[in-house]
Structures are given as structure tokens and as C-alpha cells.
Symmetry: D2
Subunit: 258 residues, 4 copies
């Protein structure tokens, strides 16, 4: 099969300048390594563990920034939406709408995203069995959206832990679904830091290698130039300085595996 494409970018739109810096750096790396990538950043962290946590610039400002980055750099852009209202706004700026995992069963949100005509990436809930994504696909098709992706990001495994079942990637692709693997959120330890979600960023490249060898259509990885000072999900993001070597290795694994 063809090499997987990549969804890369920082967890949050920490600032306009930061988003541009990250996007330009990733564009250069993509050009050098010959990968296809979609730039990702969130305008609102809507389900933070604690109430005082950083949220983001909001839908209009965030999507404007993403739209300008995409236009200027010639790179498709994506972001996650949380309400029906945000679907239409985001769709006028970004190429791919992402549905958060906790919201993957909210029929009206799926419908709103589908009705925009944009591609939609539905993250598989941590509570969802792999084959239950077939029902999500059924909803998307019923709402007229054929360009959707399903993203695996780990399954609830006891308390404050996720496990990635690599069989899930296989099963979903056997059902004909285009499957993305989210390497950074899969290594979260939900609630593992008490008032925040922990994780172990060193594990994201490990699981990315495994997923590519398993077989996937795309790979999602959050990348940050300074993870230790990221405003959200710091422990899990891959340092920008490591991403080029990792991408090269992942492409090699893909070719060895298929």
C-alpha cells in the first residue's frame, strides 16, 4: 500500500507566532522527507481535567490563524470541534474537521461536521470497541459524508491508563475504514497527575513504529518545539528536534512491512 500520511502539529494554538513557527518547521521537514502532512492545532481544549487549565484562542481566531497558515504554506490544516456551531465556522477555514474521542457518539455533532462537506476525522472513544466504529461510519455515510477517517487513540485499561490494541487497526481496516493512529494521545495517563493528564512522551515513537508495522493509513503525532513548557499535554508531545529522524524511520518501516 501507499505510505501513510501524517497529521502533525502542536496540541494547542498557544499563540499565533508559535503556530506559524511550528507549521513552517514541519513544512520544511515534510519537504525534506517527502511526506504528506496535515497541520494540526487546537483552538480550544474543551475537556481539560481541571477548570483552571489553558483553553485556547477560541474558534474564530484559531481557525483564522490555521486558515492563513494553510494558505500561505500550501498545507492542509485541521482542528477539533466540540459543538454544532463550531462545525460551520471551522469548515470555512480548515480542510479536515476532527471530532474529539469523548464526543464520537454525539450524533448531532457528527451530522453537523458531515454536512459541511469537509473531510471529517472521528477519534474513536476510549470506551469504544474497534468494530463499533462501523456504526460511526454508518452515521457519517447517512449524513452524506464519504470522506471520513477513524482515529485510534487507545482504550480504557483499568484506571488512569490506556492500552493500544494493535489488532484494532487491523480490524477497522478490514472493515474498509481509513485508519489513523494517534501516537501521542495513546500514551496519555488520564488523570495520572491528579489534576492533570500525564503520560510518557518517549513511548509515542515506540507505538508509532508498531502501528506503522501493523498497517495504517495515517499517523497523528503532536509535536512541540519545547514539550516541557507546553501549555497542555506536555508530557506526551514529541520534541520537534526528533521528528525528522522518526519520520524517516517510519517510512522505512512501512516499506519493510508491506
Amino acid at each position: 500500500g501507499p505510505a501513510p500520511f501524517f497529521i502533525l502539529g502542536p496540541c494547542a494554538l498557544e499563540s499565533e507566532e508559535f503556530a506559524w513557527d511550528m507549521a513552517r518547521s514541519l513544512k520544511e521537514i515534510a519537504d525534506r522527507t517527502g511526506i504528506h502532512f496535515i497541520f494540526k492545532a487546537s483552538f480550544d481544549k474543551a475537556n481539560r481535567t481541571s477548570v483552571g487549565a489553558f483553553r485556547g484562542p477560541g474558534v474564530l481566531e484559531g481557525c483564522r490563524i490555521l486558515g492563513e497558515i494553510g494558505k500561505e504554506l500550501g498545507v492542509p490544516v485541521t482542528t477539533d470541534i466540540h459543538t454544532i456551531e463550531q462545525a460551520e465556522i471551522a469548515a470555512s477555514f480548515v480542510d479536515l474537521l476532527q471530532i474529539p474521542a469523548f464526543l464520537c457518539r454525539q450524533t448531532d455533532l457528527l451530522e453537523a461536521a458531515a454536512k459541511t462537506g469537509r473531510s471529517v476525522n472521528v477519534k474513536k472513544g476510549q470506551f469504544l470497541a474497534p468494530l463499533d466504529t462501523v456504526n460511526i461510519a454508518g452515521k457519517m455515510r447517512a449524513f452524506g459524508c464519504e470522506k471520513f477517517l477513524i482515529t485510534e487513540r487507545g482504550t480504557t485499561f483499568g484506571y488512569n491508563n490506556l492500552v493500544v490494541d494493535m489488532r484494532s487497526l487491523y480490524w477497522m481496516r478490514e472493515e474498509g475504514l481509513p485508519v489513523i493512529f494517534d501516537a501521542t494521545h495513546s500514551v496519555q495517563r488520564p488523570g495520572g497527575l491528579g489534576g492533570a493528564t500525564g503520560g510518557d512522551g518517549v513511548l509515542a515513537p515506540v507505538l508509532a513504529r508498531a502501528a506503522v508495522a501493523t498497517g495504517i493509513d495515517g499517523l497523528f503525532m503532536e509535536v512541540h518545539s519545547d514539550p516541557a513548557n507546553a501549555v497542555s499535554d506536555g508530557p506526551n508531545q514529541i520534541p520537534l528536534e526528533f521528528i525528522e529522524d522518526l519520520l524517516v524511520k517510519l517510512i522505512a518501516i512501512h516499506h519493510a512491512s508491506h
Copy 2:
């Protein structure tokens, strides 16, 4: 401690007449058994497994019916909301707003519910560790809501299955949280019927007995006069004809346990 109160009613507002029939029947049973109860029914099943499934009469019509039932019968009423907009509408008709489990981490929805001044019952996500409800409590208090409840409804356990960890009830109460146990949704088999959620209604009374013996503040049970023909969650609801005997037994277990 005092005997638990009960949240009882059908899964869905199948029709106005049906809601009245169920409420009147439950009111009579509550009066005979001396229990306190809140009448529950949903105006919208917003996260059905399949797109063609029954949804409900919608927020305005549904809450109007519930409000009239509550006023006429002198019974508090509750329903679940899924958006910020629904919070305010529902709050003008019902006494207790319920946040669905999948949405328990959506900060804006919690804020909207809290700001209405109504009591709020947050269902604990199937992906959430018991002590992570402390963060939910922190959000509710930060938004000015002190009258909130946390409802245990089972935890993701492998695929298409939930398990109830009775330790969860103990741990959350030790944190000072008022804890409800949802006996009917806890026996769901998510996605277990392919395009629908299965379950085993005979197990709901079993887990209800265990939870009362463990120690809870309230018990949530969906009740239906004809579960086999219910428009949603049929396999899990407790038949109306069995509920009175069950309530009597549960009160006896409470007194034996504490």
C-alpha cells in the same frame, strides 16, 4: 446514614401519555413504600449507536411534559442535557439537570448546567477513574454549584462490556461526594447487539442490591411498563411490575448494612 433516595423513570419520553402513566404508577409505589423519588425521562437520545434509532420529542416539548408532571404530582423531575443551550431551557422546567457520561469532561456544559442554579447530576464517564471525579467536583464548585451529584454507571471493561467496581462508590463517598448508582446503565453491553447496545435487565436488581449494601446516597433505575417494547435500552430497564418489591428489599438492605 439516611436511606437512599431514588431516581426512577423510563429511559425515553416515548409519548406524553406514556410519561404520565409511568410517573403516576411510580408515584403510587413511592407513596406506598415511603421512598423519596425523582422522576426521570430523556427528551433526546443524543448518542444512539445507530443513526436510525429513536431520538425523542426534543428539549422544549420534553421538558414541558416533565415540568407539568412534576407540578401535578408534586414530584421532583430530572432529565439529561447535551448542549449549553439545553441547560437553560431544561432548568426552567426540571429540578435536577443530568450530564451524560460521555460528556462529563466537557467544561462548558458543566459550567452551563452549574450556572442555572439547579442541582446537577454528573454521570461518571465509562473512561474515568473514581478519584478523577474529584476534578469534576472542583469544576462544579468553581462554577458556583454546590448541589451536585456524581453517578457511577460502570467502567469500560474490555470490549462491549462494562464492570461496576463497588470500591468506586466507597472511594467517591470518602471524598465527600454524594454518590448515585445507576443500576440499569451499568448492566449495558455497549455495542453488544451490533447496531445497538445490549444488556441484561435481570442483572440490574442484582447490582442495585450490592450497591445499597456498599453504601450510596441515591439509586438510579430505569423502569418501564413493557421493557420488551421500549424504544431504547429495552434489555436493561426494570419491569414496572417488579419495582415495588425491589424497593422494599433495597430499603431493608440499607437498614441492615448501616
Copy 3:
């Protein structure tokens, strides 16, 4: 149904004197509360987390002590065996042979226990689904043993944790199996202390109440006069001083539940 019987005693045969003290104390409590009980203690802790941990007096010495206690006090006694050779030795001294959970699938050990003619209590492996105990029952019957019990002691739940699925008790009894609930080992945190198994003894009475309300044939609880100084499983054993009140409450819950 009839009230559950009890299997009570310390985790390990720490010394002959200690075993006698515990047995005499429990016998007095059983007489006062009117319960039926079997005295339990282990002669060998054969699967300790670490190699340096306390093991016990061995099969011959341990079973001799148990046999004398049983004869003198008029109380049935039980202990756990780990090898074929131990089955025959133990059977000449004790009334009920216990198969450890990790060994519940070892066909030869089940056969050796069955062939002694004694009753056999097979603990359900932490890795076993409830209905898979039907296969264990099939083995016991094939080996000529009809007097066997199945003990629930929790299921692997993520890492370093167990969860008790109260549905398991119901399902196994529906299969016609006599079901014991082990309240102390169910609250273990396997490997939770690094080189040793942790747990939380305050939870054992909580789960015991839930299991009795669910419906069981017998209840297993390890009891120690000084848990903090027990040579094994200290964190989980119930203090002797609390056991009488707990037994009274559990009998009351049983009568309220059935």
C-alpha cells in the same frame, strides 16, 4: 436461601500458637453469632512476589496443626495445596482442599485433589471469565468430585489492580455452581508495593457486604489479630476485633436480601 457459611482464618500459619489463638477466638465468635465456619490457614505461601518473603511451616507440619485444631475445636479446617503430592498429605488432615487461583487450570492438580475424596474449593483465576468456571466444574465432575466450590477473588483490571464483577457471582450460581466470595484477596493490589502485593483492608468489609447482598453460598475472609504485623497480606486482612460486628451485619444483609 440459607445464610452463607464462612471460611475464616489468618493468611499464613505464622506459628502453632498463633494458629490456635486465632482458631479459638474465631470459634468463640462463631458460637456467639451462630454462623457456620471453616478455619483456614496456609502452610506455604508458594507464589510470593519476592523470593525472600515468608513461606510457612510446610505441608506436613502445617496440616498436622490444622488437623489438631479441627479435632479439638470441632471445626472443619481448610488449606491451599500447590502440588499433586500435597493433595494426598493435606487430605489426611483437613476437610476442604483449596486450589490457588493461579493454578485453577492445572488439570493434574485438580485431579489429584478430586481423587482424595475431600471437598475441593477452586479459586477462580484472575484471568478467567465467570462462565469459564463451568469448564473447571466439568473437570471436577469428570474426576469424580461432586463436592466442589468456586471462589471469586477478583479479575485482572489494568495493571496492579483487581476488580470484582458482582455479576460473576450471579452468573456462576445460575450455572448451578456453589459460589464463595473471597473478600480479602479481592482487595489486593498485585505488585502494588513494588516487591510485594498491596491492598486496602478497609475495602474487604465493603465488598463482603456487596457480595452477600448479591447472593453467595459462602464468604471467605482472612482475619488477623494484628494485620499490621502479619507476615503476609497484612494490608488486606480484617482485624479480629472487627469481625464479630461484621458477621452480624452480613447475616442481617443476607436476610434482608433474600
Copy 4:
């Protein structure tokens, strides 16, 4: 790092002729592909789900066959042992003793295996957290065995299912442990066929690819010339006709990954 070695062979010693045929075929494949391999077969299936299931030729006959195969073909051989007595017998015929996963906590069995002076491969229990294998390593070293391996073969995940957490391979290797991945037993569905263990053999190569990309020291795969007619674990074994292509691909993935 160096390419992983392989442990290959049929689940059971179905007959002497069958064992020779499988060993010769695998030797030819190993020679052609340049891999190092250890030939594996079991002389006794000691923990079958049902009592009537095939067991095997027993320890003496089985180990004699394995020893002759190893000597004649110049290939190291391995088998699994279940009792202290079998350790010494097997050690006089085979190069590597394997401890079954259910028995990985049985201190006396580990000691008996360690004391033979042979290398020992301890399978990690389905109930064991990755870091708890450090305690197993501690036991092995305390008993004088430095040449031991730890084999990941999946973790209990709800009922009748296992999940492979690829992080486990990484964590155990970070502890300095030599880690084998067992691709065939990891795809078992324990008890999934009622009276027998099911599984899905198409998944074994999928997980093998993922594990090699993750990073392992060795790979264990059961291979059978006719899985559909295997006397045990038929659904999970990899057909002999597919193994050569798979080995070539796995070696390529290893080189791409490291």
C-alpha cells in the same frame, strides 16, 4: 541492535514423525533466511480448558524426541515444564526450559528450573503488570540463573480476551530484561469457544510485525503444517507455508526500525 532470534515449532508434540517433519522444515527455512531459531514443542498440555482435550506424550518421551531432533539437526530445542520433577528431566534433553504463564509466580518451579543450569524462558502471566517481571528476574538471579528470558504473551482484557500492550516490551527491556514476544498465544481468545480456547491466527503476523518494530530480543511463533487439524491451539498457529515470507519481512522491519 542485533536481529531477534526466533522460537518456532508446533504447539504440541502430536507425534514423533510430525515433530521431525516440522523441525526439518523449519531448519531449512532458517538456513535459507539466515535466522537463528530454537525449536519448540510441548510434551504435555497441562492446563487445557476441558478435561477430554489432547495432552501429549509426556515428559520423558517428549524430551527424548526433542533431544534427538536437536542433536541431529544441530538446533537448540525448548519445551515447557509444569512441575519440579519435570525440570530436571527436561534439562537433560533440552537447551531452554519454558515456564508457562499461569505458573510464573510459583517460586519452587522457578527455583527448580534455575537450579538445572539451563537457560529459562519465563512467560509473563496474563495477570502480571510489565514491571512485576522485575520480581521474577530477582527470583531467577537469587536462584543462580542469569540466563533467563521474559516472554510477553498478552494481558487479560475484559472477559475471554487478551490485549498486547506494546509498551510492555519497551518497559521490560528498559529494565535490562531480554524480552521475547509470543505472537501466537497473544491472539488467543481464552475460553472463547466455550469448551476450548479460540483465537485468530491471521492476527499473529500482524502483532509480530508490530512487536519487531517496537523492539524485542526474540520472537516466539507456533507454526503448524496444517493448523486446521492441529490437536491444540489450531486457530492461532501460523501455517508453515507462510512462515518464510513472514520471517523475511520481520527481519526487514527490524533493520528499518533500529
